[in-house]
Symmetry: C2
Subunit: 392 residues, 2 copies
Amino acid sequence: MKCSGDIDVREVEELSINIDPIQAGGRLTPEAMKACIAYGDGYSVCDYCLKPFRLDYIKKPPIAEFHRDLAEWLHMDEVRVVPGARRGFQAVASTLVEKGDPVMLTALSHYTEFVSVEQSGGIPREIPTDEHNRVTADAAGMRIEEVMREFGRPPSLLFVEHVDYQFGNIHEVKEIARVAHSYDVPVLLNGAYSVGIMEVDGSALGVDFVVGSGHKSMAAPAPSGLLAATSERAESVFRTTKVKGDLTERTFGIKEVELMGCTLMGVTIVGMMASFPAVQERVKHFDREIAHSRLITDALLSIEGTEVQSEYPRRHSLTRIDTRGSFDKVAETHKKRGFFLQSELKKRGITGVIPGSTRVWKYNTYGLTDAQAQHVADAFREIAAENGLNVT
Amino acid sequence: MKCSGDIDVREVEELSINIDPIQAGGRLTPEAMKACIAYGDGYSVCDYCLKPFRLDYIKKPPIAEFHRDLAEWLHMDEVRVVPGARRGFQAVASTLVEKGDPVMLTALSHYTEFVSVEQSGGIPREIPTDEHNRVTADAAGMRIEEVMREFGRPPSLLFVEHVDYQFGNIHEVKEIARVAHSYDVPVLLNGAYSVGIMEVDGSALGVDFVVGSGHKSMAAPAPSGLLAATSERAESVFRTTKVKGDLTERTFGIKEVELMGCTLMGVTIVGMMASFPAVQERVKHFDREIAHSRLITDALLSIEGTEVQSEYPRRHSLTRIDTRGSFDKVAETHKKRGFFLQSELKKRGITGVIPGSTRVWKYNTYGLTDAQAQHVADAFREIAAENGLNVT
């Protein structure tokens, strides 16, 4: 069925249980969907944009209030919305990183963090992970010391994943921030897999910046996200424009340089806002998500030959699993080869595993109901048993 | 009526004829609205993202095809979608402008162009307008010469408005590009008020870059836009990442540095795509829009004391009008003061004029039907006559 021209209707969430690693936290709430319909037009939130003409001052719809609520919720002083978490990384790197500066990232940093460093001309240095694929404060301290020896100065900025995209592991953010601060290194928390999924308290974690993703974890349309800062850091990252027309002598009010003025003028900001009450509520019930994650991971682990690469027991809904010793053995002789797993899941109404994957792959159980989680767990065990694997 | 939580339903376009200067070209088509409902979820277009894992390679929905069609339509070699025209300016300035470089803008450049220069550390120099508020090739040549004398080198980049946001005037782009190129200065066309509104042929205009706005002029949700380039310039502005993890030795495929990888992952890209057939068609009927613009502008000019500040006769739907000698005289004694005009328009089902404006203000007649245009024209004359102004 086409929804428009040659564009097929997307019915993934309507017809299937979706365990795609990146899509789970970005499914719209019914509230966001309604708001999107009402605010679809390009500049729809600008009807009541009055002086000083900036998005975060608009009162109707209540965008100004949303900004205040967001900051309070994250226990940060200031927040701005951005077109995706990556644009938050970019704003901070562009503010703090000069050409040739060392910048600390982690062995699990997302490519968008690296690219923001590349844009600013910084030199990336990674903090390694430990044997459990976790980034520790000890490793961070060691690497900062190495940077000091190599560059004669500390890194200009340290990026740390709250929850990384590869394993869904939770890292020692608070301890890492403490170490970084002892060298006066500002810390940016990449909350793309945590803000909107689990409770995030930027103040308790002691970070300078929190970046979140609307379309990854806040049930919002893309591209959307947020950049929060302490008041000390807000001054620089949210500095207002100083540029001037040399002939007209025009200046440009209180537009913020790194945000390029207004950021999300329509459906993206309204979608974030409409989902926010549900998002605030859902982070309080992350224990239920963990229970589902564990149920499904344990079902996979009950299939002989399967190993989990993420930390275990699971503390997040995103998990990396190694089925080279189980499903991949089946794939060797199955007439559908590696596609059998996806095909069998599809028969059971489950989608989101990359077609052909039977080796090392990821899934995200976020947002499943109890019954759906049980169904997914049963499905994996059933598929294994039907294909001659030992299920204990 | 609330659409969600404390967010009021927006009914501006449903209940009124909207002549807001920035909103007219960004109203969604019915096709875009349907596509938005189907693709509201965050990462909705990523269901079939296969190697090499980049937005503009996705075949289902047909994003790859859309990119090719867009480039062909603009007569440019390469195109990418961006989160708003400003992110296109940013990508080009970040690529071409080094700290301390002179950059040519115009006396009518938008603040986002200035801010992109500020971000890159460039030094803005403006091309003045002539007595008709038009930017000419002569003025551009003169200013480039002045820059050569001041900096000992030509500007790194020249921004030129196709149609400016202040007057809705059409400028001598082709001639300006020719002059700029004689100094080897690359030219960026700001098509925020032209791409999607009128036919734009980047090749005929001889520009290096075309930037367009989805939410301003392509009937798409915000933030969306496009950056097109000649193949020569595409190589640098769309260069792929070279950054590498120093420990993990990770590299990041063909993600593009200035775009930070993928840009519009859901409703924004699908909205642009769904509106595109209608947008391609509507630019062919720009003459109808001009007729409406002239009808309404002439109605205003028939009110004694009114002057048009935009070029005349009108060649675009965005117009700046000076009613200090007409409606503002009424405001002096009217019990509603300057709010009477908006209030009278509202009674007639017309919205989009900034509340309180009776001095110098703007309107955009884009997308009105013949009957709506006639109604707006009549309304202005009627309001004038009822308030004792001479209407000829």
